[in-house]
């Protein structure tokens, strides 16, 4: 399944793993902040309307 990486397997896989971890972390954090803020704003807007 994996391509032939030879003696650089750890180097290449390490670089990919770290970069993908950072990207996924950023995406998850951004989505969590977006969802939390949308819900908080919705609650306050409903409270203000009442």
């Amino acid at each position: 399944m994996l391509p032939e990486l030879g003696k650089y397997a750890a180097t290449v896989l390490g670089a990919y793993a770290l970069a993908i971890l950072l990207i996924v972390g950023l995406v998850v954090l951004s989505l969590r902040q977006a969802t939390r803020m949308r819900d908080r704003l919705r609650d306050v807007e409903e409270r203000v309307k009442e």
Binding site: T11, Y16, A19, L26, L31, A34, R38, E45
Partner: protein, 242 residues
């Protein structure tokens, strides 16, 4: 229709809400295709061996690290000149994305450098200017959080952004005018005879497109969050005053 209409938060929320799913989908497709192509279907380089595959992460991340800051510069200038809040908030929203891209470029560069140069790090002009750019990103984010008044924070961070732009430009062109560094010249060029072989060039273009789209998708998402946060603050303040 004028571009300044999008400076209206309501208009921005409407348009970005429509665009976001499409940009996100395209970013996901381009990233998956580009990275799978680059990782699984490109050969080892005759000098670098399999480490050449790191280029598909390193170059697009470095591209977005620099261009992310330049986007923040444009947004900051719009804020300073025209006082549009959406532009200040989009600059604020872009900073964590640019900082992550800079970190990816630094980390993947260090991992590649260890077997190729025999060192994780060298005080080379491009590496050093990139490290300073990373510190500017950290300082920019810290400054936004350190100042309570949002307009004052936007003013001061805009000035910081202009100063940091020197290093964003320097990190792009350092290899051209400082020849004593370890970092090689640009991998890409408009001149076909100068850039890398097509077998690496095509997947790299797809990866670069994927990183640009990822940046735009995250920028839209995070700017929407910042606009909502600003509205929340205003509502809470109004509630407290009533």
């Amino acid at each position: 229709m004028s571009i300044w209409e999008y400076a209206n938060p309501k208009k921005f929320m409407q348009t970005s809400g429509l665009l976001l799913p499409w940009v996100t989908g395209l970013a996901a497709i381009a990233l998956v295709v580009g990275l799978i192509w680059g990782f699984f279907f490109t050969p080892a380089d005759y000098r670098q061996g399999a480490t050449v595959k790191i280029i598909f992460l390193h170059v697009p991340a470095a591209l977005m690290a620099i261009n992310g800051w330049l986007m923040m510069l444009v947004a900051s200038l719009i804020w300073l000149i025209r006082r549009h809040h959406v532009s200040a908030l989009s600059a604020k929203a872009a900073a964590p994305i640019g900082m992550t891209m800079t970190l990816i470029a630094l980390v993947t560069g260090a991992i590649w450098g260890q077997p190729m140069w025999g060192t994780w790090w060298a005080w080379d002009p491009r590496l050093t200017s990139f490290m300073i750019l990373f510190l500017f990103y950290l300082g920019y984010i810290a400054l936004w959080h350190a100042i309570e008044d949002p307009d004052t924070a936007a003013d001061l961070t805009s000035v910081l952004c202009m100063v940091g732009s020197v290093f964003a430009i320097l990190s792009r062109y350092a290899v051209l005018f400082w020849n004593q560094g370890l970092h090689q010249g640009a991998s890409l060029s408009m001149d076909k005879t100068q850039h890398i072989s097509n077998v690496f060039w095509f997947p790299l273009i797809v990866c670069m497109g994927g990183f640009v789209l990822l940046f735009v998708a995250l920028l839209l998402l995070r700017t929407r969050t910042e606009i909502r946060a600003r509205r929340l603050q205003a509502l809470l303040l109004r509630e407290r005053m009533a």
